[in-house]
Subunit: 136 residues, 4 copies
């Protein structure tokens, strides 16, 4: 089982947090379906080039959130999450991020139109990067 995790070495964001965010997104978006067996902590640790313990923490945190189920000697699985819960969660992380962005805009007295423009610029740039990077 292979999972695409991208680490930003330069970011001040803790390793474990970067990984959690990406795993949550994979689960909430359905790219990791219920019941899927995740890679073992040792495997994933090797593939993201970090300590086993860091991955253990990630799996444990997500288990505490109810997203994963782990059975000793067997491995770690994606837990059952109600569809409505999943959809709600899927949006909430995004909404939260947009609230932070709007707060930043309001603080420097951006108009609504200015923010909409910024969003469109950013979207265009990101989507372009996606298609360009798609051939990698």
């Amino acid at each position: 089982m292979w999972i695409p995790i991208q680490i930003n070495e330069l970011s001040a964001e803790p390793l474990y947090h970067q990984i959690e965010v990406q795993l949550r997104a994979l689960i909430f978006s359905g790219q990791l379906a219920e019941g899927t067996l995740l890679p073992s902590i040792r495997e994933l640790a090797q593939s993201v080039k970090c300590s086993v313990i860091t991955i253990r923490r990630v799996y444990q945190d997500l288990e505490n959130e109810g997203l994963l189920r782990t059975r000793q000697g067997t491995g770690t699985f994606v837990a059952k999450v109600g569809d409505e819960v999943r959809d709600q969660q899927r949006r909430s992380a995004v909404i939260e991020a947009f609230e932070a962005a709007v707060d930043a805009g309001i603080r420097v007295q951006c108009s609504d139109e200015e923010m909409l423009t910024i969003l469109q610029e950013v979207l265009q740039r990101k989507r372009q990067m996606e298609t360009e990077g798609g051939g990698e």
Copy 2:
């Protein structure tokens, strides 16, 4: 001199950082004009109910960034910032936040339209809170 600083106790974001972000925004948006005398470290510490050490760090950081200027025995002032620099900076914090939001959206496979809708919902909600809270 009174400065409106809002602290979110529940947030994991460090105190000093919350304050810096807000001060920067006040300066870049022109709400704190060049030459303005800031409150003393003790005063500001008292008004945000935190340690003077925290405020000292804030002033120090912003001075290092060239946004503040301290004159011995007189106090701390808002430094001169070039207009084009100010405008660029004003936008950059906002753009950064929107990039994070778009990243969050892309991770859970939101469409562009979905993100635009979310932004409009958030904007409406925040603006409403502003006008409601304006009478406080």
Copy 3:
């Protein structure tokens, strides 16, 4: 030979332990009489939907405790247990569990009466579940 074993998937309690506890109880209460031939490892493994390794461990543990006896090529039997030993054992597991419960109560400063009330509530609830579930 059919043996009623209930597995709680959600519990953190290891599989082998859940099974051992239930087998012991069946033996000490006389529901599995001395000399009874137990199902083969493979059969029991299939019926509780777990690995044969797990069942092998269970049989081994109980044999080490002197509760089971394995004869090569024949199978695994319930061993002879002295009556007084059996009676003592029968109670000891129960007493142990009640000691843990009382400890939990004392820790949060429950009065004796409060604990008696709780026991009666729980008893009533469990007995009701028994008679309801009896038709299954």
Copy 4:
């Protein structure tokens, strides 16, 4: 700040779990009031003679449960818990333990009266130990 934590070296129960159970009980029973500053992780580690990391895990687990609040550079506090929540939680741990005890009793076909008798015996014994140990 001194906190009475008793470790059972012989028990198979993990260290961190023993500590969590006792801290939860102290909080739910009100012996550790809201807002109380707990000992630093290093202090508590020293007093229970275990690794700092074990205590860190304890504090973090309880923070995830919403029982503690920790602020970097300041320390760890008992969080605000709604009274009704606290009362409910206080009982639920006890009820859970009694359910396990009753299950154990039912498995070996104890009568209700037998369990009541056992409870009274255990209570008497424990209370006696309390008063005897009170002079320590």
